[in-house]
């Protein structure tokens, strides 16, 4: 009975639950992971702040690698399908998921994106690479497993060396950290060695790749980190 007053109502009862909040997403992500593995396609979850160069990186891959290696992209944004159109112009099969209010992608949205890719004639089994370009945000996407084999986090040199220290949860989950726009490092006074030190401290499992989507520098290293076939010698 209530212990606060004499109201006669039953007292609240404490019930231990201990359930993962994202259990439904995690279950769906596991199913997606199995599907990707069975199809033999490498699935990558690409995360960064807005404007760090996710789409530029994928455009470069589409133009220089995608000719010989089938790839597709599921791209998430709050609004517009600009990114998907940019990728399509670079010869990449891409579908856009506009999330509206949601600042991250969830496994269910990826399943929906896959369905739409299949509608466009993409056969999962024939792909070598499936990139899930997440919503530009370094906070919320970290908590959501999308069934990816690897999580790649981009940091552009214009964002400053200490950005990884400000978003440790996201960087902690990274398998690969890409320092993008490396061709601008000198111009903006970006200290690469310092940035690498910061990344190592918050992203202990990550391989670090310095990359420029303008010159193509570092693309081979990225492909290697993703366990994908390197560029043809003439690229």
């Amino acid at each position: 009975m209530c212990t606060t007053c004499d109201c006669g109502l039953p007292a609240p009862q404490r019930v231990d639950v201990g359930a993962a909040l994202l259990s439904r997403n995690d279950a769906l992500a596991s199913a997606l992971r199995q599907r990707f593995e069975a199809a033999g396609v490498r699935a990558i979850n690409l995360l960064s702040s807005p404007g760090s160069g996710k789409t530029a990186l994928l455009e470069w891959l589409g133009r220089h690698w995608g000719h010989h290696h089938p790839m597709a992209v599921i791209v998430g944004d709050l609004a517009t399908d600009n990114d998907a159109r940019r990728l399509q112009a670079a010869g990449v099969q891409a579908v856009q998921i506009t999330t509206g209010q949601a600042c991250h992608l969830e496994a269910a949205m990826v399943a929906d994106g896959l369905h739409r890719l299949q509608h466009d004639g993409v056969v999962l089994e024939q792909l070598e690479l499936l990139v899930i370009e997440n919503v530009g945000n370094l906070v919320c996407p970290a908590a959501y497993d999308l069934g990816e084999a690897q999580r790649v986090v981009l940091l552009s040199v214009t964002e400053g060396e200490d950005k990884p220290l400000k978003y440790p949860a996201t960087f902690h989950s990274a398998d690969v950290v890409v320092i993008s726009k490396i061709d601008l490092a000198e111009v903006v006074g970006f200290d690469v060695a310092n940035a690498r030190r910061h990344i190592e401290r918050v992203a202990p499992r990550a391989r670090i790749v310095e990359l420029s989507a303008r010159t193509g520098a570092g693309m081979d290293a990225l492909l290697e980190a993703l366990a994908l076939e390197r560029l043809p010698a003439c690229a």
Binding site: Q13, R14, V15, A19, A142, R201, V202
Partner: protein, 107 residues
């Protein structure tokens, strides 16, 4: 936050409760979730349900990693996985990514 609502209401149904007075979440320091943002959304999401008047409690779980060379665990402050004793970078996080509904107070 929708996940919290769904899980809490489901548990309340299972226990035949008519009201939820309290919801306790366990959130790891490296879970990627801002407790303040959760608090902000809580009232809006719970409105109109049997948890509309529930209080939100957040149990923060500090991050902890294991240093192989020292064979000891250490507190991961601000996400820095560097052992304070020997300076080695640890790849073994023991705690800190929890994102759970810990308990409910049901009436």
């Amino acid at each position: 936050m929708d996940n919290v609502r769904e899980l809490a209401l489901e548990q309340a149904r299972l226990h035949g409760a008519s009201r939820i007075d309290g919801i306790t979440l366990r959130i790891g320091a490296l879970a990627g979730v801002e407790p303040e943002a959760l608090r902000f959304a809580f009232e809006v999401v719970m409105a109109g349900s049997i948890a509309a008047t529930a209080e939100l409690h957040v149990q923060a779980v500090a991050a902890e990693a294991f240093c192989e060379p020292c064979h000891l665990s250490f507190a991961v402050e601000s996400g820095l996985c560097e052992c304070p004793r020997c300076g080695a970078i640890s790849r073994r996080l023991l705690r800190g990514r929890e994102l759970e509904l810990a308990s409910l107070e049901l009436v």
